[in-house]
């Protein structure tokens, strides 16, 4: 089959960074093409260039042999190129049908033809096999369903090329399977899909071909995915062999450090109890919606507790106040870095010292010398890749932002319990290993660590003990010696009977 989408010598630079240099590759018609690379490898820039959001300094994009000269997202739209970002772009208060028609409502003289509005949408949704009520408000849909709606929108606009940026990062395994089935149908229709993901399983499950980027350059192009192996791709991404990205090592545990007794809150009805010892890393696993993040927020005091108590080294921690939790030694790295973690528009330094600066600010007056020393110390220690501590944090990659958030707590004094929610979501392989290494180091110093993750291999790889949650309850508690993929998944699945059509091996 002929090449449909062609990238020809694409280069794009920003001051200080050459984001893309001389990247060329082709994608066949009707292919699902994987795009992989560490964060900062240039994937996002390439997608931005493709979507018309940014224009390349050099090079050209050809679709079906025609050179594209679009200069805006709208132009790209008309050329049939649609990018579906991690942050979905739907209007929550409008219905599915209204969202799909947004921008070109059917009707006369400004009066919307209601019947056509939902009728056409029903047909379209049925045609591509999406089971969503067109009259439902988007706000009432799950994230997975919203993503389906986004894809339906692209199909309705006759997209020839659809780029999906980390589409499964906030989907449950089941929702992912539904998405994959949809992608398979689009492939059959001849749509070109550019699929950006960090998850190798998905790449192998879905893609026909694959491109790997590294440091803005083409690291490898595989026209046939069947001819490559996982290890090969990983080494192409990082430029070196990573034998074991987890690097877990045994540790001895001390006395009980964190004790949580019968805590419950508005989103977590059933009271939960557990404890973590000094030096222990406890992994919380569960499907999306199992209540892990809610549990973490209650322990930290970010949400209001209706009952229960939390104690650190035997001392009770006051409820419902992050500042008091921090003073008692409990800290949280939140799940959603963008909304709950980083302070946009402020520097790395300010983001890092936001909590710890009170320690070197007599009468509230910051000692700038100590502040910059502390920031530089943790930038070096955590290997945050940045030209300076004054850099706006939004300019960092996900992995580096996560390191700054970790630095925020490492620069605090007397941290005893670290809760880290999805430590490596959207973070590349190299930075993942670095973050795990940091966690091991902290555990060795006696910190009690709670790691929440939706990736089973990650939890199994780094935890000393796994607590499985299912529908707001603790479903299992297993020491490392008893880790078993099937056992853990079985505990995490809400109702095993309903999932008979879904073999366990396919989940995650």
């Amino acid at each position: 089959m002929q090449d449909f989408l062609e990238f020809r010598s694409i280069s794009k630079g920003y001051p200080g960074v050459q984001a893309l240099s001389d990247v060329s590759f082709d994608v066949r018609k009707g292919a699902v093409h994987g795009l992989m690379g560490e964060n900062g490898a240039g994937k996002s820039t390439l997608i931005r260039v493709l979507s018309g959001d940014q224009s390349a300094d050099e090079g050209e994009i050809r679709i079906n042999g025609e050179v594209q000269h679009y200069r805006s997202v709208r132009d790209a739209f008309h050329a049939g190129v649609i990018v579906i970002h991690q942050e979905l772009q739907l209007v929550p208060e409008l219905t599915v049908a209204e969202n799909l028609w947004l921008g070109h409502f059917p009707g006369k003289g400004g009066v919307i033809d209601r019947r056509k509005l939902s009728g056409v949408v029903s047909e379209k949704l049925a045609e591509i096999g999406i089971d969503v009520d067109p009259t439902a408000k988007v706000a009432s849909l799950s994230i997975g369903e919203r993503q389906m709606v986004e894809i339906a929108k692209a199909v309705m606009l006759d997209a020839r090329v659809i780029a999906l940026d980390e589409p499964t990062s906030s989907l449950s395994s089941r929702e992912s399977e539904i998405l994959f089935a949809l992608i398979d149908r689009l492939r059959a229709n001849g749509t070109v899909i550019l699929y950006v993901s960090h998850r190798l399983d998905e790449i192998f499950r879905l893609c026909d071909s694959l491109t790997v980027l590294r440091d803005g350059k083409l690291a490898a192009h595989h026209p046939e995915i069947s001819k490559v192996t996982r290890d090969q791709i990983i080494s192409e991404m990082v430029g070196r062999e990573i034998a074991n990205i987890w690097g877990w090592r045994g540790r001895s545990f001390g006395a009980e450090r964190l004790r949580v007794e019968n805590i419950a809150g508005p989103k977590l009805k059933v009271p939960l109890s557990f404890s973590v010892r000094r030096g222990e890393i406890v992994g919380f696993f569960g499907l999306i919606g199992a209540g892990r993040s809610e549990m973490a927020r209650l322990v930290y005091g970010a949400d209001t507790r209706s009952q229960g108590s939390v104690s650190v080294d035997g001392a009770t921690v006051p409820a419902d106040s992050p500042p008091k939790s921090i003073r008692a030694g409990i800290v949280l790295c939140p799940e959603d870095r963008k909304f709950d973690g980083i302070v946009q528009g402020r520097s790395i330094e300010e983001n890092m010292t936001i909590s710890s600066r009170r320690h070197f600010s007599p009468l509230g007056i910051i000692n700038p010398k100590k502040e910059s020393e502390l920031a530089d110390k943790f930038i070096a220690k955590l290997r945050v890749r940045t030209p300076s501590r004054h850099q706006d944090i939004v300019n960092l990659s996900g992995g580096n932002q996560q390191k700054v958030i970790l630095g925020r707590w490492l620069s605090e004094e007397g941290v005893k319990v670290l809760i880290i929610d999805e430590p490596t979501r959207g973070i590349d392989v190299g930075a993942k290993s670095e973050i795990y290494e940091i966690l091991y180091g902290l555990a060795e110093q006696g910190m009690a660590i709670v790691v929440i993750s939706s990736e089973l291999p990650e939890v199994m790889g780094i935890a000393d003990r796994i607590i499985v949650m299912c529908e707001g309850r603790l479903a299992a508690d297993l020491p490392r010696a008893e880790f078993d993929e099937r056992l853990i998944l079985a505990a995490a699945l809400p109702d095993i009977k309903n999932s008979e059509d879904l073999p366990l091996s396919q989940v995650q």
Partner: protein, 316 residues
């Protein structure tokens, strides 16, 4: 062309524009540069300048305060009435500061604890407080009994009137607070991302209450100086002041979306407002036209700010 663009859209773009405008005005408008006019100009921006200091914090933390004009009138009134009644200027000043602080604290508590929109809350208190000022004085101006009270505004130090010194002091203090203290940095962090700041251990609600309380007290200072200058407590003083103060802040590059503010910018913003008005007065331009010009300046400033942030994004 590109270098000109870079200067105008750069960090110091506003300062450059201000300097150029200042030079042009000095050369073309007669009497502008005279000592008398310069002091008059600075005197005329004292109220706006003082309040802009705390309004900057308010806007930088993503809040908004419409009640400042009413608070200035009310606290000025309270200062005059309390010192008339007690015979002590100091007591009058304390009463004014207390009233300003209470109004601000109420704003802060309603907004931060009860989570009511700042625009609506301060729209309400703006009217309530103006009502109090009118009720307390029965709608009439209240004259100052003790001539010592006049001295607050009339006295001079090194030839410069006291209110200008006060404004200068406020600029220095609040510039320091914004850049060098935990309070200032936390304010900017809240504006940048309130939820992330809360989870990072910043007591966001308490910070917001403090910012409003401080704003109230600062309004009282401005109210006292204003009452002293106009030699009476006027219930209708400082109407529309809130918009001038917010305009000056926005002119000075304070982002209404929060998270971005600089004291130098706000000072320049205040001075631009003052110079525009002063020049129009010197040129005998009718007051009605001055509204149009002020509005146009604000609009241009916001457009410039928009261009600047677009340029900044492309650079990033």
């Amino acid at each position: 062309m590109t270098s000109l663009k870079r200067i105008l859209l750069g960090e110091q773009g506003l300062v450059v524009i201000f300097a150029v405008a200042f030079v042009i005005v000095s050369l073309t408008v007669p009497n502008f540069l005279s000592e008398r006019n310069m002091l008059g100009l600075l005197q005329s921006v004292v109220t706006i300048g003082i309040i802009a200091c705390t309004m900057m914090f308010c806007l930088a933390s993503r809040d908004f305060d419409l009640s400042v004009g009413s608070t200035v009138a009310f606290s000025g009134m309270v200062a005059v009435m309390a010192s008339n009644a007690s015979g002590s200027i100091l007591l009058g000043l304390l009463a004014a500061a207390l009233c300003g602080g209470v109004v601000g604290t109420i704003n802060g508590v309603v907004i931060a604890r009860f989570r009511i929109n700042a625009l609506i809350t301060t729209l309400a208190t703006m009217q309530i407080v103006r009502g109090f000022a009118l009720i307390a004085s029965d709608g009439r101006a209240v004259g100052i009994n003790d001539p010592g009270f006049y001295q607050l505004a009339l006295s001079r130090f090194l030839g410069i009137p006291t209110p200008i010194w006060v404004m200068g002091l406020f600029f220095i203090v609040f510039g320091f607070v914004l850049n060098r203290t935990v309070f200032g940095k936390n304010t900017l962090a809240i504006g940048g991302n309130p939820e992330a700041s809360r989870l990072a251990g910043v007591d966001v609600a308490r910070m917001r209450i403090w910012i409003f309380a401080l704003q109230g007290i600062v309004c009282a200072v401005a109210g006292v100086l204003l009452a002293s200058r106009i030699t009476s407590g006027q219930p209708n003083a400082a109407t529309g002041l809130e918009l001038s103060v917010i305009s000056a802040c926005v002119l000075g590059g304070v982002s209404l979306a929060g998270g971005r503010a600089a004291m130098t910018g706000v000072i320049v913003g205040v001075l631009i407002m003052g110079i525009a008005e002063n020049v129009m007065n010197l040129l005998n331009i009718q007051a009605f036209y001055q509204y149009v010009v002020r509005g146009l300046i604000l609009l241009l400033a916001v457009l410039l700010d928009n261009l600047r942030s677009v340029a900044g994004r492309q650079r990033a």
